[in-house]
């Protein structure tokens, strides 16, 4: 059952990802990206990381995709990407290289002996996550918030009217 759901979600995710890189119009690619991101969020939920699934939908699907679609609309003159694609031999070589890399990565993933433990996810994971962010991971948490603030101020500075 879980395997069937996993295969379905993975197929949706990967087909949407292929749409992101292959659809000629940028706006269509952005919509395919939304589906791919929702699929990744479903994979998080399948892994038992419900909080991450919610964060994925809120930040990626809610915020980043809206930002991307807004950028496409602002730079509307070049929304048609069909002439902007790299020429065909280059794409064929890149596809072969990416395919070979996939074969290597998948071979390593299947061949390696991962130290897998089959324990269930503790039910209080989200509460412990909050405590960890207020305790052991306090410094990374604060640094991440400063990085977020600085980058957003920088983004406003770069994108404003000169």
């Amino acid at each position: 059952m879980a395997k069937a759901i996993f295969i379905l979600v993975s197929l949706v995710t990967l087909v949407s990802a292929i749409g992101v890189v292959a659809l000629p119009k940028v706006l269509h690619a952005a919509l395919a990206l939304v589906f791919a991101l929702i699929g990744v969020g479903a994979l998080y939920a399948l892994l038992g990381a419900g909080y991450l699934a919610v964060v994925q939908v809120m930040i990626y699907v809610g915020a980043i995709s809206v930002l991307i679609i807004l950028a496409i609309m602002v730079s509307q003159r070049s929304m048609e990407d069909s002439q902007l694609q790299a020429f065909v031999p280059h794409r064929a070589v890149t596809a072969v290289v990416a395919g070979l890399l996939f074969v290597v990565l998948a071979g390593v993933s299947i061949g390696a002996a991962w130290p897998v433990v089959e324990t269930a996810v503790p039910p209080d994971t989200i509460a412990r996550l909050g405590e960890a962010f207020a305790g052991r991971y306090l410094l990374p948490f604060e640094v991440a918030s400063v990085v977020l603030l600085v980058s957003l101020v920088g983004a406003v500075y770069v994108a404003r009217e000169p």
Binding site: K3, L52, S78, F133, V158
Partner: protein, 108 residues
Amino acid sequence: MEDVVGSVPLTWYLVVAAALFCIGLYGVLTRRNAVSILMGVELILNAANINLVAFWRHVGPEQLDGVVFALIVITVAACEAAVGLALIIGVFRSRRSVDLSDIDLLQG
């Protein structure tokens, strides 16, 4: 419920993440529209995040390192998208194009 969810092996997640990574890499290398390249980078970051969460789930669900790492990666990805799209809008203002082959001021 937990037993049903846990029955998907770790390897399957790793293979899906590898496929997602390679698709994103192909997009980054072949697209010439800057926004499309950013979308490829988002795919690559998501593939890395799937790996982090899958290892957290199957190797040590008692420790929270994998989830914390994934959350920090999502934060940095949000920063990257904001700054990248701001740069694209800034470049579009001055050059009226987001085709990377038109942006050659520093190319010497």
